[in-house]
Symmetry: C2
Subunit: 320 residues, 2 copies
């Protein structure tokens, strides 16, 4: 079976992996997206990054079956069109699959980045062997994907998996999407950082850095280290975040009762497995009890490779 070129394109970086069927990687590379170049420039950079990766592996496009491309949406996976995307200025109704395909002479399959991450975890990561699995990625925002019967569930308008915009706090804080009380508005890294800044601004004691200074940039790593240092402010906010995510998990389980929830994304990865314990306790309290095997709630396994490997998995599924 020929390998596939898995590509993950976000607002900041382009990642490429030459992936075999079993999930092993022949070669990988990464470069900055330079979103300011606009669609044409970025697509050209994607093609260049792929070419460079092929060169390092001493391979040619002909040796590959296809390109799988994960990108932020909204997008149309069937037509391979990006409608628009907040982190890539100038992208409006861009037929990225066709454009990239003609640069490489290979078929290109496009899918939403978090759906792709979920497909990767399902086929090659934490969800191997499950039929119904939900992926939840907690970072700048909260995204997700729904696997039902072993396949990505896209929904009627390819709109399924927008798990970050399920409302858990009716009338609560405004979300980046303009609505109120979405789980993303109360439990993403963005929400955590906002709560930390509000606490610090109000004079709360914190241990956000070794020297007690307020760091310039608060990353997921900053938050995880403050938590390890027992920063009281961070502990309070993370505890609330885990509670919200637990309620959200239970809502998903009460609705479609999957076998497994898989958590990834920058915030979860910075903490590791410890992040899930309180979340699971809340989820168990809020999920209705039924007989049968327990719902498993676990961390993602593919880490940095989730996007590229997932894109390769997605392309292989779409071909077959």
């Amino acid at each position: 079976m020929k390998p596939i070129i898995g590509v993950d394109v976000g607002g900041t970086k382009i990642a490429v992996a030459l992936a075999r069927h079993d999930g092993t990687i022949i070669e990988r590379s990464k470069r900055r997206t330079k979103a300011e170049l606009g669609p044409e420039g970025v697509i050209h950079r994607i093609a260049e990054t792929i070419q460079q990766t092929l060169d390092s592996a001493d391979m040619t496009p002909k040796q590959f079956l296809a390109v799988g491309l994960g990108m932020p949406g909204p997008l149309n996976p069937d037509k391979g069109i990006i409608y628009h995307t907040p982190n890539l200025p100038g992208w409006k109704n861009v037929p990225v699959a066709d454009l990239l395909s003609s640069e490489l002479n290979l078929p290109v399959y496009l899918e939403n980045d978090v759906n792709v991450g979920t497909m990767g975890e399902h086929a090659l990561g934490a969800g191997i062997g499950t039929q119904d699995m939900v992926g939840i990625f907690v970072g700048t925002g909260i995204g997700g994907g729904v696997i039902l019967g072993g396949k990505l569930h896209s929904g009627h308008r390819s709109g399924a998996g927008e798990l970050g915009h399920m409302v858990v706090a009716a009338g609560g804080p405004y979300c980046g999407c303009g609505r109120q009380g979405c789980i993303e508005a109360v439990a993403s890294r963005t929400a955590v950082v906002r709560a930390i800044k509000a606490g610090v601004a109000a004079g709360r004691t914190h241990k956000l850095s070794e020297d007690g200074e307020m760091p310039e940039r608060i990353t997921s790593g900053t938050i995880a280290r403050a938590w390890e240092r027992k920063c009281p402010l961070t502990r309070e906010i993370i505890s609330r975040t885990q509670w919200y995510l637990g309620l959200h998990a239970a809502s998903i389980i009460n609705m479609i009762d999957p076998e497994m929830l898989v958590y990834g994304g920058g915030l979860v990865e910075a903490f590791g497995d410890a992040f899930l314990k309180p979340l699971i306790a809340t989820a168990k309290q809020y999920m209705l009890q039924h007989t049968g095997p327990e719902t498993r709630i676990v961390t993602a396994k593919l880490g940095d490779d989730a996007g590229t490997l997932g894109a390769a998995v997605m392309a292989r599924q779409r071909i077959s």
Copy 2:
């Protein structure tokens, strides 16, 4: 094709319909459950009600394919066992399908009552022709069912469709289930009645009856008539209820993106189509926008027959 005996058993009544394949009803009847008789007594009453209905139609069990039985859970549809159910005292691990089957000499198929109602609406009511549809029933509680790919989605532990226990108001009012902020706790008829009573107790002006007296029992009909009379308290509470249900609808759509949501249950039926307009407006605000056909949000069509017809549909699907 032989007809099926559809049976709907709740805490207050047993309903039976002799249902043809096309959803037409040969004969129907209804009697009180007399839950106080306990499992044996109630199962005997179910058998009697069926026999009585057969007698009225001058038919015998042999002329039927099976019995479809919808009951409140938690239950095990495969084994035909009711684990327990709040409205039927004494029911604990009752193998109701086997017991009823030996009284009638017909196979008996058991399923959760709201799943059954959803299957009825899907096969014979508002959802005809849809592949992915969600049924939401708003009455004393809030229940639901999820149809995916034209079939009931049961989930990993037969726990799917517990839509009333998705959390929309984290940390909000206690729910009948013991948890907090479930949609059932803020938007069921029970929640509406509680809010009305709290308003009246605080001296709020109301028009809950023609003469301005507080009615002894507040039914869905009482609420709908007060709303028509422009009772300011009722209007405020119903408006909030519709808003909560709209957020809940959007959460479901953002997660699995079905073709259609169908609303039934006592509270929705008492108001009719008018109930859905504000709910739809909120849902549209909160569902992420995608291209493709719009999600339809409609009222149920089968009314009082939803339970029995749905049970017949369920049995026919389980046989084939």
